[in-house]
Subunit: 205 residues, 2 copies
Amino acid sequence: MQGEREVVVCRLEHRPGRDDRMTTHVGLTARALGADRLVLPDNATQAEETVADITERFGGPFDVARTDSTKAFVRDFDGTVVHLTMYGERVQDVEADVRRVHGDESVLVVVGSEKVPFDVYEHADYNVGVTNQPHSEVAGLAVFLDRLFDGRELDREWVDPAAVVVPRDTGKRVVDPEDAPADRVGDVENASGDRGDGHDDHDDH
Amino acid sequence: MQGEREVVVCRLEHRPGRDDRMTTHVGLTARALGADRLVLPDNATQAEETVADITERFGGPFDVARTDSTKAFVRDFDGTVVHLTMYGERVQDVEADVRRVHGDESVLVVVGSEKVPFDVYEHADYNVGVTNQPHSEVAGLAVFLDRLFDGRELDREWVDPAAVVVPRDTGKRVVDPEDAPADRVGDVENASGDRGDGHDDHDDH
């Protein structure tokens, strides 16, 4: 987040078609929960496009880029490398260490897919398990980021959004920050249009 | 979790094929992060099977069931209903309330998909946004459960697992709790077999 050392999320591998939705969710979760930057494999074009599109609509700063070698990117990263894996050390045991390190240097969070080569385990400064149970790389990333930032990411502000969701106890309210001052905006039911409902379906276009 | 009021996760809708992986990740996340029970739409047979299979392999208790009307299930639920939506109140503003209520009654966490009907917003005791940004229902569920349980879910114990992952700083170690006492098990590289690597691909079979 702004004013802090950079946090980068790298999705190690991607299978076009099959992984489009998961990779997109990894990217949108990285953006929403405080990371500064997303690095994707070269073939993850659709996920890159969706994340860039959401950033344009809902604000930044958040960068997304593709690379022809995520492994080289991980190897050459200047900072601390955290690899999320169900085989790793328990997040509750290492999170304080990682938070301390993040005070001094950038942090790269590596999210796997399919088989992760052993040298990623070896190269990582921390192999971290958000539980040692099989579940979801999206869930692991979300809990890790929330704990890394100690909840600060929930209060971050977004620069230049075209649309702002106003939190409310029932229904939906989306405002255009330029066209509609806060005291004149009405309730916009289903204004989210093709962005889907709730947290789902952000790759549906 | 055991010794506490029940927490149930309900996935409101499901599109076979298209949603199989997301619904499975919702289910595995619910199990790994402390929920007691998962309720799925009738057509989510593959996700149900995978979650039941993982529970048999990695331990319980965790129940999964399908219903021909998730809407009726939500409407008739005896307890507090929390609907996760990017349009809802900020999780950091309502989580203390929900935790307090959970001391006295069961909690149902509703995870949407596609369009959520307005009566779900109206019926819910809390509409809660894990950020008011578009990201992933899996990420929202994960952060919500971690905050609801205040991290206690990471220390829960599993009953009758066939396989146990031993947290470690590099590589993978999976042990069979029946066949191999802790002091004699070796390092089992890639012992996870078809369960995939890390937190991914648990619906690959």
